[in-house]
Amino acid sequence: MNRVQRLLIASTLSATLVAAVPASADIAVVVNAGSGIDRLTRSDVVNIFMGRYRKLPTGNVALPVDSSSLKARFYRALVDKDLAEINSYWARLVFSGEASPPQQIVSIGDVHQLVIQNMNALGYVDSSQVPADMHVVLTLSE
């Protein structure tokens, strides 16, 4: 076996191992603990993050935020789609002037900041790492 073949097999094996390890935890959809929102259904969360209908049970306009590090896992768990499909979905709505995608935020720290500052903000975090000042409205199992 030459070096290239060994490398290929090694990388295939490690990819298989990574894929086989179960995800560390589920994904929690979170709001500000003082927002007055107790629970949201999966279809509420789909409506808000997919730009279909963005009204919160409080009557206010929901402000969804995407966090780059968890985005792929979140949409896989929510609608069983990968990021290219999500981009394709938004291309139709953006270029027909129907709706705008959630605000894109790179760091989890900034998502946290936004949710504690804004009563209408919705974010998502790894369910094993929910900060005390956030309230979980829906847990998505992966």
Binding site: T41, S43, N47, R52, Y53, R54, K55, V61, A62, V79, D80, K81, D82, L83, A84, E85, N87, S88, Y89, W90, A91, R92, V94, F95, S96, G97, S100, P101, Q103, Q104
Partner: protein, 396 residues
Amino acid sequence: MRRLLPVCLGLILSVTSVAAEARPLTDDGRLRFSGFGTLGLIHNDLDEADFTRDISQPKGAGKGWSARTDSLLGAQVGYRFTDQLDTVVQGISRYHDSGDFSPEVSWAFLRYRPDPGVQLRLGRLGWDVYQLSDSRYVGYAYPWVRPPVDHFGTLQLTYIDGVDVTFKQPVGSDLVLLKLYTGRSDGDVFIGKGLEAHFDVDKVYGGHVDYETGPWRFRLGYTEVESNIDFSGDAPDQLDAQFDQIRAFDPSFDLTANGVLGSSFGFDRLKLYSVGAVFDRGPVQLQAMWNRSKTSADGAVDSGFVSAGYRIERVTPYLVYSQVETTSDGEGGSEGDFKQRTYSVGARYDFTANMALKAQLDRVHVQRPGFLWRDIDSDWNGGWGSIFSLGLDFIF
């Protein structure tokens, strides 16, 4: 093509390095810029007729390869004044009725959203006459190289200057949507060799009801288009010359080519009825649509398609069947009518999160040649043709 290619390649290279989302240009995120485009190549095996994407294209793709039909570039700038008020301007450069790629403003509206369930838009708006019709140039948004030509190719307008209002109401976990719109518009339609119709649309109005439940989206739509039609080209010119000769003998003879063609086509008043259904869950994408457009001369255009796609990793293979038929007197096909059906097979490959490569084969059965084709041989009665297409779609 020679001028478009370097521009598109440059753009593609520059978009690979940026995120796929609309990029804020200001720190507060109020001003945003984004865009879309397609680099398309068509191979037509027919000697007898040139393939078009829609009736606004004066020239088609002849035998061999062509990049004119599907290639396009669009860009959008948006500015948010407040959470309720924003504006969007969108331009597009594609091969259209002026016979070149001259850019035009396809959207330019001011939007007011007092509530998540109400939206009011004022200005230039895409013609949302049936599902997907207002995003039919955004190749990245659909699996196909182009939306089924039999169904979308006969649309007369791309945008309206006017106003629309949308109401959304949740019903349990479902959503009901009502959209009403009215405005003015204009556009050119190429009907056949030496015959072109200019639509000066006084009034276009209509609406639709959408019902969204789980992965399903259903739509019922109705639209009326009232226009002054101006016919031009060799055919009306020759007709007018003959009428002038008659008038030389009989000054009371008052027929004009415009009048005669106008009453025989009946384009001055169109009524469009449409139904559509889309199913989108996980890797499965299904669509079915049907439309009947009626003219004031009792003619009709019936069209429809069904499409099925299934995503496997980064590749989405799909199958489409579409058909279109015109009837000039409500009695079934006659000499001047047009009828064809298309079987398509293709695949979309998402090789990055903002670019997709597509390949598609259309087997078109032209039963009676007509206005979706250009430069038709006068002795051609139709037959089978193969259109092979490659497309590179991107957003930035």
